[in-house]
Point group: C2
Chain length 177, copies 2
């Protein structure tokens, strides 16, 4: 399971509460590893039980239940151990391809509007990624860590560009006749 290791990585980058972690996750590692807050809270509980992380009442908790989590040496050791294992391929589950194949088998089902909707989503994501790129990676001299983060972002940018170009061609085919 990789969720725990994604959380460890994120907590090593910056100790934080479950809530903050969930929000940061959505905007960084989450682009490549989505998780809901329920998953995150449960996983934090497990990792604390395993001695990988520890928590304390947050300094700014006030009367809330806010807790800060930080990684312990066994957690870091586990991350190191895991990092060099062979990784599973990305799974390519795309419902829309199934729908297209149904359209091919049954005749024109009117998938064009849905394709346009998805294209717009890709455009949005691409714009967001490019904005992040401008903001965080414009400098000519970046640290090794920053350059790696940039490459991860670039993977997303390539994917979105690729998806948009493909969708444009696919749309042409669906609208034919």
């Amino acid at each position: 399971m990789a969720l725990s290791h994604a959380l460890l990585t994120s907590l090593i980058e910056k100790s934080s509460s479950g809530y903050d972690l969930a929000r940061r996750f959505d905007k960084s590692i989450g682009f490549f590893w989505h998780a809901t807050h329920q998953q995150i809270y449960r996983e934090l509980g497990r990792m604390e039980a395993a001695g990988w992380i520890e928590s304390a009442i947050a300094p700014d908790a006030g009367k809330t239940r806010k807790r800060m989590y930080r990684v312990l040496p066994p957690g870091q050791a586990e991350l190191l151990r895991w990092a060099v294992e062979p990784s599973n391929d990305m799974d390519m589950r795309d419902e829309f391809m199934v729908r297209l194949r149904a359209d091919a088998a049954l005749g024109s089902l009117g998938l064009a509007p849905e394709l346009e909707r998805r294209m717009a989503l890709h455009e949005e994501k691409l714009a967001l990624y490019r904005q992040i790129e401008q903001r965080d990676f414009a400098s000519p001299e970046l640290s090794r860590a920053a350059r790696i983060h940039h490459m991860i972002l670039k993977k997303g940018i390539l994917y979105e560009e690729n998806s948009i170009a493909w969708a444009r061609e696919m749309l042409g085919l669906l609208l034919e006749k």
Copy 2:
């Protein structure tokens, strides 16, 4: 859930046994919707209980348990109903991006060999896709269904090309210094 609909589509394309379905799946829809044989058998059972498909002992069963499945009108209706629903985005779960981010946080962990391994896998897949493209879609005049199948394959080809180009650049960064 889309697995049942992927199976319905595949069965509409060609009635077959669970075993054949599982094998065909690996080489067509399976590129975008992987499923193990256990998932497939269970799903076939559910769909038969729901009246979407029916099965009969296969003509070439001999003394084996081989059964042929075919789609019934309610199954086709269900597929039509589902096909035009809004589709979920492809989830982008890529463990290797998490590992890279761990590498960025903890210092050089030696991920280059693993990246090279993955690059080779992408090359293999790309070669396979291009071979299928030559075999099935070389003709200048293709039916609508064939052209849709070709576009689905092209999506895979774009993805693999993209991944290889990205990996090459990433490898350069990991080997620096």
